[in-house]
């Protein structure tokens, strides 16, 4: 097995999905967490990141960037990507949905410079984009029937949805009562062997 060293901020954000994949697969990796406030000074020299970005994954010393690319690689290598090309396609479809939502949330949260505009945009995301997204997820789960998004076992799609919804689940738990399949899915993913242990020891972070 290759030696894996994963470098990201000490946050969940867009990097958490890779950590979840490693833990779900039961694959050892070095989980390097850098201080966000020291960015980018703390990624000079040894920690120099490809294209000046985080996260990156070192595979036997070679560095690769882009969280989604990395997550798809780990999923592919370690049985989290479905059983055939059409399942890969379905999984990537769900991942794409989560990215669309995450992008809107990130634009609202980190885009505007003034607090008022930020609050306006965030309110819009939470009142419009989030319910629409949750409804889509609910329908996908109902259609697939297994409690997972694709096939009948845990895949990258399940983990990506899980991490994408963490912030809103903490902030608006009541909203989730309208989406019982999504709620059940959260419990199901959270109780998977490698994931449960990781979540119980994971330090809480703001995002």
């Amino acid at each position: 097995m290759p030696t894996y060293r994963y470098v990201f901020f000490d946050l969940r954000g867009k990097g958490e999905i890779v950590r979840l994949c490693f833990h779900a697969a039961g694959v050892k990796f070095e989980d390097v967490r850098l201080d966000h406030d020291s960015w980018p000074e703390n990624v000079r020299g040894r920690e120099a990141s490809p294209f000046g970005q985080l996260p990156y994954l070192e595979i036997d010393g070679k560095k690769f960037a882009q969280s989604i690319a990395i997550a798809q690689y780990i999923a592919r290598e370690y049985g989290l990507y479905g059983d055939n090309s059409l399942e890969n396609l379905s999984i990537d479809g769900v991942v794409g949905l989560t990215i669309d939502y995450f992008t809107r949330w990130a634009r609202a949260t980190y885009g505007p410079e003034d607090a008022k505009r930020r609050a306006e945009l965030q309110a819009k995301v939470y009142s419009e984009d989030l319910p629409k997204f949750l409804q889509q997820l609910e329908e996908l789960l109902i259609e697939n029937k297994t409690g997972y998004f694709v096939g009948n076992k845990l895949t990258l799609a399940d983990l990506k949805v899980y991490t994408t919804l963490e912030n809103s689940f903490q902030e608006f738990p009541d909203m989730y009562t309208k989406y019982p399949q999504v709620l059940a899915h959260r419990k199901k993913v959270g109780s998977q062997p490698g994931i449960a242990a990781y979540l119980s020891s994971r330090k809480p972070t703001p995002v």
């Binding site: 960037a65 690319a69 798809q72 690689y73 396609l89 379905s90």
Partner: protein, 204 residues
């Protein structure tokens, strides 16, 4: 036996063109269905995620352009020879997505002053940064492709992403001869040049 393919999108390049380029590169036939603005509301409820593009594979519908592109790349040997090459290809796709996301933010900005600022940032900071990343990939690859030793999804993606820049701001790319050379290499490859020659001209 190959499945029957239909790609459904609006009448433009947009989010479907990379998929069309994959079909072209592979020489695989597909139905290129183009939906008008008037037709869309009636069709929307039947589409996965209520969005386009959609790929119809033997009657089964799949949404999300990035998922469709990867599927086609897998099926048509445009995804590199190894899992690590696939990762490198996805890395470039991701970098491309980061760049086009910034274009989308600029495009959607309604405040004229902010939009002008973002436009300047795009041209002076984001595009050069993106091109620099491409340069470094091309410099490290003697064959002149972005990943490995033959055309992959990464090459087609970059071709597609830079299309509007090449049309509207070609002078900005003059300082990146490797990117220009790469573009010419892809455009002049047999199947792609044939496709481009016959491609319907659209604004977006």
């Amino acid at each position: 036996m190959l499945p029957t393919y239909k790609l459904v999108y609006f009448d433009g390049r947009g989010k479907a063109e990379l998929s069309r380029l994959c079909f072209a590169a592979a020489g695989v036939k597909f139905e290129d269905e183009r939906v008008t603005k008037e037709e869309w509301p009636a069709l929307k409820p039947a589409m996965p995620f209520g969005q386009l593009p959609v790929l119809d594979v033997n009657g089964k519908l799949f949404g999300q352009s990035s998922a469709i592109e990867k599927y086609l790349a897998r099926e048509f040997a445009l995804y590199g020879k190894t899992s690590l090459e696939a990762l490198e290809i996805d890395e470039i796709i991701g970098l491309g997505r980061d760049y086009t996301d910034l274009i989308t933010v600029w495009y959607k900005e309604s405040d004229e002053t902010k939009k002008a600022e973002l436009g300047t940032k795009l041209l002076q900071e984001y595009l050069p940064r993106f091109l620099k990343a491409l340069d470094s990939k091309l410099t490290n690859n003697v064959r002149g492709y972005l990943v490995g030793n033959q055309m992959t999804l990464a090459d087609l993606a970059i071709y597609d992403i830079l299309e509007n820049n090449f049309r509207k701001t070609p002078e900005l790319l003059q300082t990146h001869p490797k990117v220009i050379e790469h573009r010419n290499r892809i455009a002049s490859s047999q199947k792609i040049s044939e496709y481009l020659k016959n491609r319907k001209e659209t604004e977006f």
